[in-house]
Every structure is written in C-alpha cells, then in structure tokens.
Amino acid sequence: MNRKSLSIFSVLLLSLVFVLTACGGGGGNSAEPASSDDTKVAGSDLENATELTFWTFAGTHADFYVNAAERWNEQNQDKPIKLKVENYPFDQMHNNLLMALQSGSGAPDLVDIELAKFPNFLKGDIQLESLNDLIEPELDSFIAERLDIYSKDGNYYGAPTHLGASVVYYNTDIMEQAGVDIDSIVTWDDYVEAGKKVVEATGKPMTTIATNWYGIWPFVAQRGSDFFDENGEVTLDNEKNIETLQFIDDLVNKHKIAEIAPGGQYHSEEFYGAMNQGSQASLVIPMYYMKDFTTYMPDLKGKIQIRPMPKWSDSDYQSVTMGGTGTAVTNQSEHVDLAKEFLYFAKLSKEGNIQLWKELGFDPPRWDVWEDPQMREDNEYYQYFHDDIFDILLAIRENVAGIRLSEYTPDVLTEIDTNIMHSVLREQNLTPEEALKQSADTVRQKAGSKE
C-alpha cells in the first residue's frame, strides 16, 4: 500500500476516532475486547514469560499444548513461556494462516496444519521454519514416513501429532455371529470372503466406505502406489490405482459387502451414531480413531479388536500412515528458537510422545517409546480395546507405507471428495478408470499451466 492511500486512510481513521469520542458512551472503553475465563492460556501468571501464540483447529489439541506449556514452565524456570492458544474453525484457520503468511504479517509463532492442507504451505518461498536441527539427530527413533509427509527438498517443516497407522477395527460381536475368526483374515481376498459371510449371517455390511479420500488413499498407498510419483508427476490414474478403486467399487456395488458411510465420512455424527449401534463389522481407519471410539461410541467398549490391514498380493505393507496434523513454526515468529525448543518438548521428545498417547490416545510417531513402561500403564484405551495395541504396531513397524505429497495434493483430494468417489460409488455413472483419468487430467492441466 502506498503512502497516498495510507494518508487518505488515516484521515478516515481520524474522522472515525472523532465520531467515536463524540458519541460519548459509544466509543472509548467499549473498544476493549471482552475477555473470557476460558481462553486457553498457560503461564500468564509468570513474570518475564515470553509470549508465544498458537493456532489450532481442535479443542483437544489446545488442551494438550496448554498442559505441555505448564510442564515446560516447571522444568525451564529460566525461560518461561506464556502460551496463548487460539482455537479456530478448521477451514478458517488454514485460510487465515495462508493469508497471514502471504501478506507477511499476522501469523502466530506456532500453528497446527492439517495433512491435506500442508502442501499449500510448501509453495513458493516457504514461510515455515525448518525443523531439521531438532529432528535429524533422532531420525532413527521415528517412523520416517510420517516425517516425510511434512517435508520438502530435505527439510522437515512439521512436527507430527501421531503416526496415524491405518488399521482395521473389528466389531467382535458381529464377527463372532458370522463365525469368522478375525486372525484368519490375512489378505484382502480373505477380507472379501469374510465380508460375504458377515452379510449372509447378520445382514450387516462388512464395512462402510467414506466418499472422501479416507475411502481410497489408505488402500492405494498400502499397495505401494500413490497419486504422485517421486518426480511430482500425477499418477492418480495409473494401473494400480484404477485396480484399487475397482476393488473398492466392487466391495460396494458388486459383492455388496460394503455400504457408503452414513454422512459420507467417518467423522460425522451420523456415522458415530450408526457405528455405535453396531451397524458394521469393521472399519479401516488410522489408530488415532481410538479417541473417537472412546468419546462417541461408548456402547462398543470391549467389543472392538484392532488388527493390521489385510495384505495385497503385490505388496508387503500392512499399514499406512494417514491423516494427521503437522505443527509448524512460522518465520514471522520473533522467538523462533524458543518456539522450536518448546515444539520439540511438546511433540518430538520422548516425553512429548508419551503424552500424545496418554492425553490424546494417539499412536506416537516415535517407535522407541512404544515399549516404554509409561506407555503400558493402564488407561481408558487399554480398557476400551485390548492390552497389546503397541505390540501389534511393533510387529508391523517395518511395513508401514508412507504417502507422497505434492503441491497439487490438495487438488487431487478435492477431486476425490467432489468427483471421483461420488460418481464411481454413489452415482455409478463413471467407471473407476474414467473417473480417475478425468480427474487426473484436470490436475495435470492445472499443474501444466504452471510449469
């Protein structure tokens, strides 16, 4: 903005101020923000505390960071922080962050960025701070696939919130009724056969498919394929993806052992309600969904067994790291080092990883804590599910597939949400091949025009 318009603006501003004061009771004091007791702040009572702002879109995350800050202040009395956590609506938080980074001011010190939105922040000159100095020394302790998601050109920009290993949650009531031993399901073919028995015996579907990317990406990635190759070329419509979508389509429309998820996705109240009533025999979703089970589906307590995903004949992967939020430090922070140190403390350190499990029920991205005695202490998740959750994870540690993100991943995900799943599964007016080709061309066109 140039000086001239700025001066015009200040004239307007002055006249405003005049009016505000002239109105007597109208102006002045009222411009003070109303405060509430419930804004999440840690360390406000400490002197010399450095203020850090944090944006998130999840109330549970907000509590987690506030607790972490309180622990930090106990252990680091020489450099206390005052952490101010702002909780925004999901979409708006990401939009506001984009705009703040774009315009060079207004961004917080730390911010939660959701997986599907993350690539938006890796375009142009990256406005996030590299976390390599925190991560590289301990890289071996992490499941690297998870860290790669938030990286570009060898730099890590996001601290993961969980591993998000995709697993299958089986409803044992239904499986027993159908007479299927869940440990006999080793391949996806077994899964289909089991599904047929379930439908026959109980009339309930084996699973439901979300019409967003949760309904396809885990399967595609587990097969060793993805939407982009290592050079960033669009591979959305490659042979494996077409076959995989065909498989999912068959579950729903040919074998009739799957239905479309109530509400179209796994995070809607419609879905929680149906699932809680035992409306389906199994669900493929990452581990973090344990929290959703304990919160929204109390009736299933003790009836859910966690198992790795069944295998494809052409791939060894038994799980995929999916979903999840990466926490980043923005370059607008005035205390980059402190913010990074705190981020390490809260989410990357061993202690932080243990808290991720204890407080949020998330599977920690550091596998070296999976055997830690603190992790094995009894809690609501062990009571709800079973004791060997992390033994299952340890057994498949080498077989967790990663996913490849590109700057056009958000475009692909939009195509999946709006076109692909809808026209293939629900409307059935396009074959998997047609739908994937069409969408891949749309994304290629966009990518091509930018070359």
Partner: protein
C-alpha cells in the same frame, strides 16, 4: 432514538463555532460545499474499500501469487478458467439464480396482494411471521437445514416424504436435492423481505383506480394486469435486479451445508469456486480472475435486464 440524540448533540459543535462567524464558516455552509461534506465519507470509503480493492483484484488476476514470489503471467489465469468445474459452477449459480428469481418475485407479489386486501386478518402477525426468518444468520440457518434434511430416516424431510410413501433420500448427496435445499433455504430467508417491498409498493396504488376499473367492468385478472402491475413495476425491477445479483453471488448457502467441497460438486457455485481455488488452495491470482469474470457476468446480465425493462429511461429522480 438514541443515535439521533447523539447526532443532535454532535451537531451543536459546528453551531457553537459558527457564532464567531467568518468566511471560512460561510464557505463550509454554502450550498455548493455542504453536499460534498455530506458525501465525503462515502467518497473516501468508496475509494478505499471498493475502488482500490477492485483495481487490486484486477491486477492480481494477471499474476501468479505465491508467498515471496509474485510474478506477472499475462492471461494465463484467464486461459485456464474455462474448465469443467467452472461450467459446473456457472450452471449451478445460473440455475439457482433463475429459481430464486422466479420464486422470490412471483410468490411475494401474491402474498403481498393478499396481505394488502381486506381478505386477510391479523396482518401484522403474518407480516412479522414471514419476516422473522430473515433475522436468522446463515450459520444458524445452515445448522437448521442440515438437520431438517439429514440422512436419517427420522429427519423431518424424510418423515414428510415417507408419509407420502417415498423412500428416504440422502438429500445432501444428490444434485437435484442439493439445489432444492439451497433454493428452499434462500426462499425461506428472503420471502418476508420481498413481501415487505411489494407491500410498500402496493400501498402507493390509489384505491380510486381499482374502483374506476371495477366500474369499467374489469375482472380480477384485468385489474391486476392493468392497475397493479404497472404500479408495481419499479419495485419488481428493483427486487428482480437484487435477486439476480444475489443469485450469482450465492456462496454461503452452499458453504454452510457442505463446508466447502460438495459431492459431485452439486453445491459448487461461482463464488464457491473463487473461494476454493483462491483461498483454500492458495491460488489467489486464479481466484481473482474468477472474481473478475463473475463481476463482468453480473454487470452484463443486470444491465441487459435493466435495458430490457427500460429502467434507465426513467432517469434517477
């Protein structure tokens, strides 16, 4: 009226000063200068809050904008606008515009005429009842309509069609029903406002005209055709123009139901596309180009409409 008192009080300020009486004040009180002082805030705000951003948006539409990298790319943004998603959005917005114009012009005229007649009692109550939906914020309206048109067979919309023997419908997942929800929501919210506009227009029709028409033996339809319509014409033009503009600008109705991405893009509108591409996917230059195309579309359609109805011939007074 509190604000009026405040205004009066403020006004004593220049008055007191004026007693010193001099050329400066005379200048500020001359009928040539006064109107400019009155409209000054508007000119300033127009320049800063409309003109400047519009020009900026036009400039942006020729740029590729990434953090720290802004580059002029000529017409590239415009060249890639015309894809499938754009045509889908254009179709949705146009269909929505036509339906809302049709519903929100004809039905309010009929309701307003009935409310204006001697046939209906409790006019104030009915008028208020019709208007109250307009007081509901779009976020709240979205919550209500999502729950009314929920997928469950126990949700009201499904209970109603179930009463007539139809199967439950996944309202938010079909193209026809998605459009239906948006149109019903808009009609619900804006019906009362338009009724008020037409009521206002009707009150200006001299009753004698009806009487003389009756004496000439005109029937109900003829009275409507030759007395009511000509008098309502300016209001009809006004309401239709606002509805056309509002129809093309539709976004929030879709946004509160699907929160961005609708299945099969059944709820994608032009502004929705702008929002999705420009803001959600951080392609601001492209978003701005969509905005400019939308702007041209609105200008052209409204001006064609206004020319067809001869609105410009009346002059502004």
């Amino acid at each position: 009226m509190a604000e009026l008192n405040a205004n009066n009080r403020k006004n004593t300020l220049p008055l007191v000063k004026e007693k010193k009486g001099n050329k400066v004040l005379k200048f500020f009180n001359s009928q040539k200068v006064v109107p400019y002082i009155f409209v000054f805030p508007f000119i300033v705000s127009f320049a800063i809050l409309t003109l400047y951003p519009t020009i900026q948006a036009i400039i942006m539409s020729f740029q590729r904008i990434l953090p720290g990298q802004v580059e002029f790319i000529g017409f590239q943004n415009y060249e890639r606008i015309f894809n499938q998603a754009f045509y889908k959005a254009l179709t949705n917005s146009t269909v929505y515009m036509l339906l809302t114009v049709l519903i929100l012009v004809t039905i309010p005229i009929i309701l307003a005429m009935l409310l204006d007649s001697k046939l209906v009692r409790f006019k104030t109550f009915f008028r208020s009842a019709l208007f109250i939906p307009a007081l509901t914020s779009i976020v709240v309206a979205g919550v209500i309509f999502r729950l009314v048109f929920a997928e469950s067979e126990n949700a009201i919309a499904n209970q109603i069609i179930g009463f007539f023997g139809f199967e439950p419908v996944s309202w938010q997942f079909n193209a026809w029903s998605g459009m239906l929800i948006m149109v019903i929501m808009a009609s619900w919210r804006w019906m009362g406002v338009n009724v008020l506009y037409f009521l206002a227009g009707l009150q200006n029709i001299p009753k004698e005209l009806y009487e003389s028409a009756e004496m000439d033996g005109a029937n109900l339809f003829q009275k409507f055709r030759h007395v009511t319509l000509p008098f309502l014409k300016p209001i009809i033009i006004f309401v239709t123009t606002i509805s056309i503009i509002g129809g093309f600008r539709v976004f929030e109705e879709s946004y509160v139901i699907w929160e961005g991405n609708s299945p099969g893009n059944i709820g994608l509108t032009l502004v929705g596309l702008l929002y999705q591409q420009g803001i959600q996917q951080n392609d601001m230059g492209f978003g701005a180009a969509i905005g400019v195309v939308l702007l041209l579309l609105i200008f052209v359609v409204s001006i064609i409409y206004l020319l067809m109805t001869g609105a410009f011939k009346r002059g502004d007074e």
